[in-house]
Symmetry: C2
Subunit: 286 residues, 2 copies
């Protein structure tokens, strides 16, 4: 696999959008970012995020909310974007991704509302009490590209490796949150791991929109199985990430009414909290 760089990588090619007219882009949803046929929500967010960057006066996503309306399929898609407000330091945009159904009718897949800014222009004061998650070293965490990490290693490698998206990502789980892969979930709503792109492309703000939804669902560690479709996801990008694999920690504290929240935080190699996200997802109790 050729080394990926920002602008020349699998992620950049598969999230490319082509302008068709004012506020209108077309794209091809790649089958490489699916999990058992379902297109990954973070991949969709990054792709729409790229279209919005093409119409807004600011380059970087700062706060992005997506409502997932219907299940996207690999294949052609269109993105309609609108500038809601162009401000001095932040601008606000809205976008809608659609696909044609079997009868040729246009169906909306997701609706996005987002604030963009220039991360490099923000003041660099930081007052944070947040701490990076505890995580064993990258080399010791099992994933589709690393069967190490002790007992859970082979199981995690096999399970993550069975998804199409495993060819694009290098996700490595903390063995402490990988019990589900051996049939012994911890019962806690926690999932932690390392995130990198398989071709070595470094993360940028658009890749953070992918990373917030890239780990297996926390529901697996709670002991639930099956798909946990996202209803709504909001991601805040707080900082341009430094090079190197990212640490991702996802927590679910409340499963109620058939819905659960997944709170994700992403830390870069310089120990900075570069993104936070929360999604509301549907859970099926076993």
């Amino acid at each position: 696999m050729a080394q990926g760089t920002i602008g020349n990588s699998e992620f950049d090619r598969d999230t490319a959008v082509t302008p068709l007219g004012p506020g209108l882009h077309e794209a091809e949803l790649s089958p490489g970012w699916t999990i058992l046929g379902a297109v990954n929500g973070g991949y969709l967010l990054a792709l729409v995020g790229r279209a919005l960057a093409g119409v807004l006066p600011h380059p970087d996503p700062v706060t992005v909310t997506a409502h997932y309306l219907t299940a996207s399929r690999p294949g052609p898609a269109r993105i309609r974007s609108e500038v809601v407000r162009a401000g001095r330091t932040l601008s606000t945009g809205q976008a809608s991704l659609t696909q044609l159904d079997e009868d040729g009718r246009e169906v909306e897949r997701l609706r996005v509302l987002a604030g963009y800014g220039d991360l490099d222009a923000l003041p660099d004061d930081v007052r944070t009490t947040a701490k990076p998650p505890p995580l064993p070293p990258y080399e010791e965490c099992p994933g589709s590209r690393n069967a190490g990490g002790g007992g859970a290693g082979g199981g995690v490698a096999a399970l993550l490796g069975s998804t199409e998206i495993a060819g694009r990502l290098d996700v490595r789980l903390d063995p402490a949150t990988a019990g589900w892969a051996l049939g012994t979930p911890s019962g806690n709503g926690e999932m932690r791991g390392w995130f990198a792109l398989a071709d070595g492309r470094e993360a940028d703000p658009l890749a953070l929109l992918l990373a917030v939804d890239a780990l297996p669902p926390t529901a697996f560690e709670i002991g639930l199985s099956g798909w946990v479709p996202t209803v709504e996801l909001t991601a805040h990008v707080r900082c341009r990430p430094a090079p190197g694999p990212l640490r991702v920690a996802v927590t679910t504290r409340n499963l109620a009414g058939g819905l659960l929240e997944e709170d994700a935080e992403i830390w870069d190699s310089r120990d900075r909290l570069v993104a936070q996200s929360r999604q509301l997802a549907r859970a099926r109790l076993g």
Copy 2:
């Protein structure tokens, strides 16, 4: 003050919306919900939430995101709402609140994207690890309607009481997070307190949209002063609240790039986590 009830209270009158046509409502933003002239963001969210409930097939807000575009003023406003998707258990809507500026031009104040459902129809399984925040009893926490609570009591009562919204709310702060009122902020990004409506109206899902933005900013306890305007706020309503004052805990973990997040959780008298929210706000470092 007459005892308020759901449907007949200050909150209901001041968030009333009048249909003008398909997807179009008018409203009057009340000066009673302002803080030094600025209309409270939670009040705006509740008012738009009521308009959306009028156009969507489901009654209750489940996930609501608002982008605050320009500063709202007391006076007339219009809300345009759109059904994005009507599903079986959840529907998605979008709304825009506008006002006329001095020159009679329509200016958008906030844009909202929301998912609605029927909270009473959700399955009632709960698996939660979240715990209610530690908080002294309602009677012992100082607020605009209660000068008790020891040392900080008088200061909190005076400061909260100096805002217009103090006539509508009965917010009482945990003395442990009220040091800012005495000029001795803790330095921690935490604010906790009790929330009730001043006229005794019980909380419902729309009032939760108000409650997530009703405490003083966590920035005060970090040691910053001045306005902390919301850029974006997302609230999840997880459960219809039981009667009685609500406990609200707000936490800021990361202040960086001139922005900070405020994570709020709201607990009802039955110890259920009834709402979660996160907002991204601008902070001015002193």
